[in-house]
């Protein structure tokens, strides 16, 4: 299924939200929710974007979906700049790129029955001739594992997992090529999560979909995604093929995230020593100097406090933004001794 031509490319994406103050609501500062993010998603793959809440991953998703306007950078779909599309091209883009949202309680219009929710896009865009709509709704429900009678139910009459299936069915109604799953399973119970993740996998195989999967649950992302990018405070900290990222994380933040995933084996849990990540995610309106991660980093040096590390190549397809992992060098590189006494300062 995978091929090397990227279906989605994000280049130097920045999204800022102005902070307004005073009587005339003048913008006094800007919060950069996304601060120079680049990645590309090969057709037919699943690309994961992970990070703590507030790291900007959802904003990336919203920018890809054209729900927020980027302040800088480009989003290319099939090699075409989405921001420069005319109305007709944008309409085609809307059809090919769909979303599954986080909260199954907010993502469906409470006043519409499932049948109406699923048939609305067909009706509005005239994709299916009138008599075929009912059958098409039934087909969508079927491939998402819901019986046909669910067409008569309202969202409040369904469980979270069932609603999420309807949300997926709605995304499929447009025959999309790329589906942005914004925390699509985080609001569900673990057992339901597994069902929905399996459904997403099946659909990917059957329909040849590409996923941009936003999440914070590493085990889900590891299971579903071919490639993963770890975000911290609006920047990508590390990106690699899924297996390599989880086996050999290079960025201290990635290592801390992976360490924080509980292991179901109690003997293993008891035996291992983890160094918990301390502190909070800094305020994005007032980010730290240099590497944004340095106040919480166990390896931080003076260099990290002064200069932000670019993404450096560790191996093919594996990039990390860290001065200390050896992937990148700079002119004023220095010894590691400095971090013994200053590493935990904030």
């Amino acid at each position: 299924m995978r091929s090397d031509d990227p279906i989605l490319e994000v280049q130097g994406l920045e999204v800022g939200f102005p902070i307004r103050k005073g009587l005339f609501q003048r913008p006094v500062a800007e919060v950069k929710a996304v601060n120079g993010v680049s990645f590309s998603v090969p057709r037919g793959s699943a690309f994961g974007l992970v990070g703590e809440s507030g790291c900007g991953k959802t904003t990336v998703a919203r920018a890809v979906l054209q729900l927020v306007e980027p302040t800088a950078g480009r989003v290319l779909f099939d090699g075409q700049d989405v921001a420069r599309m005319d109305a007709a091209a944008l309409q085609r883009f809307r059809g090919k790129v769909q979303a599954v949202f986080q909260d199954p309680f907010s993502s469906l219009n409470p006043r519409m029955s499932t049948g109406r929710i699923l048939s609305e896009p067909m009706r509005v865009h005239g994709m299916t001739p009138g008599p075929g709509i009912k059958a098409e709704v039934r087909r969508l429900l079927d491939i998402c594992g819901l019986p046909a009678r669910f067409a008569d139910l309202y969202p409040h009459e369904m469980s979270g997992g069932q609603r999420q299936r309807v949300g997926i069915a709605r995304a499929l109604a447009m025959n999309p090529e790329l589906i942005v799953c914004d925390e699509a399973v985080s609001a569900l119970d673990v057992s339901i999560q597994a069902q929905v993740v399996n459904l997403l996998e099946e659909l990917q195989k059957e329909l040849g979909l590409t996923y941009l999967f936003i999440g914070h649950d590493l085990s889900v992302v590891r299971h579903l995604c071919d490639e993963v990018a770890v975000m911290y405070l609006g920047r990508i900290a590390e990106t690699a093929p899924s297996d390599r990222l989880f086996a050999h994380p290079r960025h201290p933040y990635t290592q801390a995230l992976i360490d924080a995933v509980p292991n179901p084996d109690p003997d293993f849990e008891a035996g291992r020593e983890i160094e918990p990540l301390e502190g909070e995610v800094p305020n994005p309106a007032d980010p730290p100097s240099g590497c944004f991660f340095h106040p919480r980093c166990r390896l931080a040096t003076d260099h990290c406090r002064q200069e932000a590390p670019p993404l450096g190549q560790i191996s093919s397809g594996h990039l990390a933004a860290c001065w200390e992992t050896g992937a990148i060098t700079s002119t004023n590189h220095h010894s590691r001794d400095a971090n013994e006494n200053t590493g935990r300062q904030r």
Binding site: Q98, N109, G145
Partner: protein
């Protein structure tokens, strides 16, 4: 995924009944309210045939109390109060309903646009609404009638303009919160037009507070017309309206209590009935509410 299919079967409710009849069956207040409103609507339509006397015909039988010929007595000019109140129903209901409909349409449009688009559109609309909010609705109506003159149409226009701010405010705040809902994001990614998002996805979910406000406003509009007539700024001196009858009777309240009580009672009954019906409509339009049987 077929294993989950069976467990879903039991959850599907039996055939759906219309929510309107289903909720009405359990709602005694709504039944009473609806009956009262139908009665008044009937009276309004058939007033010329139902009224035993010409509402403006003066007789020498002045200020007579309740009797078989004059069930609600007569006023200071010997006019039959029952006939006058019957005819007054027409104007009062017309003003109450049309005023709110006009205010509703304009208020919803302003509120949706201000809330959804935000920015300078919101600033302009809301600064105007704030300006209007600073004055009591009734003062605005009095001012408008004073400028444009009295008469049925002017009273309706004046009252509806005075009520716009109430609706605009509610619709704007509902729009502000609803536009953040994920189903609105979903509608945008599905490429729906702004009009569809506003009228199909946002407005229907804002309907409950709008209905509550509308029923309250119908009451205020009827009272507003009564107050305008009371001040001599009503429709005109020859068209009997509830407010005018009340205003005329005010001077004789110690000699002829019925002149104040019956028009007041008519206003109170209609206002109460509208509120009952409004509560029922709000429940009936809420798909989330469980409906038994």
């Amino acid at each position: 995924m077929t294993d989950t299919a069976q467990t879903y079967e039991a959850e599907i409710p039996a055939k759906r009944r219309s929510r309107f009849t289903a909720t009405l069956a359990h709602d005694r207040k709504a039944q009473v309210g609806l009956a009262v409103l139908l009665l008044f609507a009937f009276a309004a339509v058939f007033a010329p045939w139902l009224a035993p006397f010409d509402p403006n015909a003066m007789t020498m039988d002045m200020m007579s109390g309740l009797s078989w010929t004059h069930p609600l007595g007569t006023d200071d000019l010997g006019r039959d109060l029952f006939s006058r109140i019957l005819h007054g129903t027409q104007v009062s209901l017309l003003i109450g309903v049309s005023t709110v409909l006009i205010a509703l349409v304009i208020g919803i449009a302003l509120g949706l646009v201000a809330g959804y688009f935000g920015g300078w559109v919101d600033q302009i609309v809301m600064r105007y609404i704030d300006l209007q909010w600073a004055f009591p609705n009734f003062i605005i109506a009095v001012y408008l009638v004073a400028v444009f003159g009295t008469g049925l149409l002017n009273v309706i226009v004046a009252l509806s303009l005075a009520f716009i701010d109430d609706f605009a405010r509610i619709v704007r705040s509902m729009t502000l919160s609803l536009r953040e809902e994920q189903y609105v994001d979903a509608a945008r990614t599905l490429g729906f037009s702004k009009a569809r998002i506003l009228f199909i996805h946002i407005l229907p979910n804002a309907v409950a507070p709008i209905i509550v406000q509308a029923t309250v406003s119908v009451s205020y509009a009827i009272l507003g017309e009564a107050s305008l007539s009371f001040l001599g700024l009503g429709v005109d001196a020859y068209t009997p309206t509830w407010g005018l009858i009340l205003a005329d009777g005010r001077g004789f309240i110690t000699q002829a209590w019925w002149l104040g009580v019956f028009p007041g009672l008519a206003i109170m009954l209609v206002v109460l009935a509208i509120n009952f019906v409004g509560d029922w409509l709000r429940d009936a339009l809420d798909v989330r509410q469980a409906v038994e049987g």
